[in-house]
Amino acid sequence: MTGQYIIRRLLIMIPVLLGVSLIIFTMVRVIPGDPAIILAGPHANKEQVDQIRAQLGLDRHPVIQYFSFLGNLFQGDLGRSTRTGLPVTKEIMARFPNTVVLALTAIILASLVGVLTGIIAGVKQNSIFDHISMMIALFGLSMPVFWLGLMLMLLFSIQLGWLPSVGAESWKHLILPAITLGANSTAIIARMTRSSMLEVIRLDYIRTARAKGLTEKMVIWRHALKNALIPVVTVIGLQTGTLLGGAVLTEIVFAWPGIGRLLVEAILSRDYPVVQGVVLLVASLFILINLIVDLLYSYLDPRIRYT
């Protein structure tokens, strides 16, 4: 891996991020509904609405609005929420840690369960464990997260009373949302680990290791796993990014105070600056995580060289 490659990848991020910011800026502004009218309330007259519009800077030319948005962005200023009047960065920072905790717990759970299941299913191909676990994985892929969340809530909170259903007060509140959010990724990781394992154990060097008289355990854990896990690391990385943005539905089901819920609330109340801020944050994080995954990939697999 060369430093030049990293620099080139970072440079490519600039047009993509500019594209993202332009798309978000344009999209958010063609959303029907005038935030100045909404903010002014139903009894405001035209003058009051105009005044609010001027305060928000919405009376200026869109191009000027975009450049002033970009300029502020570089200074870490994302504007103020039209709904609460608080700075967007503050709104986001109040919610973002919750989403990070939820997404990280979900991905750790998904990686542990997914990788372990995938290894066993791959090593014992066509066994009952293989068939059943892959069937469950397919169930995990096909289940709507919001339904899974509701069903878990129905069973563990309402019927059994073991876990709290909504909110984020203690670690107990984290369990059901994390399982719900991680279910899909668990399935993807398990399937990937299995197929990667199957591919690797057919290679010559594994046959050599077996021929040397190494124990099966040694062959699997010391030889096969190292190479089999390379693509799995990529998938885990990509899933982490997806979970950050994909937490919307889970957060709504469990009333989890994260940025996904913030985004839906902002969309419903036409809070432009908050929508922009959340989407920009998620998109930048996603790009960054993908870059790290790519670099990690070439570090783990010396056969891959980027030039």
């Binding site: 993509v16 509701l150 929508v275 989407v279 998109a283």
Partner: protein
């Protein structure tokens, strides 16, 4: 000339038969086929099979438990849940088909052009695709729906647009894999035009991954559309849509579990069916995995 044409037709037919034979040989694919068939029947025959009017409400019987007349019970407005699920299948089917069509009609030309011409065209199209791919999962559909407003048509457009990058990437990579083959060079050397090469050679030969992807995408489309419906950003009421039905029943989960459970189960079974069928098709179309 005619004989050659018939021969080609026969070949195509036997190829189709061969793929179908390989498909039904796999138990899981067969289950997928049955589940998808079940979904299609429920949707297409809803007016005949549905026991009640999906829109007829009765507040007196709200949240009523399953009974002989109302096999899956009644929802928060006293409407027949089974009938609404059956009519909802039509909505999901329509959404799935439209989403996949939008994805293919825009995504495939983008990918093929990108791969075939390379250079600057490729760079620009790929940055555009990169930009779209920076919105993970349902996020892009969410922003688009916020922009377009709620409603059936907008759900289809929003989810459809968000699937474009996947088709573009897929068709790009399959064209890249075949564009330097000898038969393409041969076509070029006899003076075939770019559009002829693309339409007659590149597109047909990169079709199988697209068929597989489209089947799997029916599943994603149904899931995402239901997700938007669940967030209250989808098809407007009182249209029976699965996600919205689930959202309606969510508030009553403590007193009437059936209202949210059955529509969710239907989404699950349908999506599972398309996933199984897609997996099966992939194996059937990939000769390397010949059974």
């Amino acid at each position: 000339m005619e004989a050659i044409a018939t021969e080609a037709e026969n070949k195509q037919y036997s190829q189709f038969k061969e793929v179908f034979r390989r498909l039904v040989k796999r138990k899981t694919a067969l289950i997928g086929l049955v589940l998808v068939g079940f979904f299609l029947l429920a949707g297409l025959l809803a007016p005949v099979l549905a026991p009640n009017d999906p829109l007829e409400h009765s507040l007196q019987h709200m949240l009523a438990k399953p009974s002989a007349e109302y096999p899956l019970g009644r929802d928060e407005l006293g409407r027949c849940i089974l009938s609404r699920i059956m009519y909802g299948a039509r909505i999901s089917l329509l959404i799935g088909l439209m989403v996949v069509s939008i994805g293919i009609l825009i995504g495939v030309p983008l990918g093929v052009t990108s791969a075939y011409y390379g250079g600057k065209t490729d760079f620009i199209i790929q940055r555009f695709i990169d930009t779209m791919l920076t919105f993970p999962g349902i996020l892009l559909a969410l922003i688009l729906i916020a922009m377009l407003g709620v409603g059936l048509q907008n759900v289809m457009i929003a989810v459809g647009i968000s699937t474009i990058p996947i088709y573009a990437r897929l068709s790009r990579s399959s064209v890249l894999a075949i564009k330097n083959r000898q038969y393409i060079e041969a076509a070029k050397s006899i003076g075939a035009s770019d559009s002829r090469i693309i339409l007659q050679h590149l597109v047909p030969n990169s079709l199988s991954p697209i068929i597989v992807q489209s089947t799997l995408h029916m599943a994603t489309a149904i899931l995402w559309a239901a997700g938007l419906g669940f967030l209250g950003l989808g098809v407007s009421p009182p249209t029976p849509e699965w996600g919205a039905m689930l959202n309606g029943g969510r508030l009553y989960i403590r007193v009437a579990y059936h209202v949210a459970t059955f529509p969710g189960m239907m989404i699950f079974v349908t999506v599972l069916g398309f996933n199984l069928l897609g997996d099966g098709l992939r194996d059937a179309l990939d000769p390397r995995l010949k059974l």
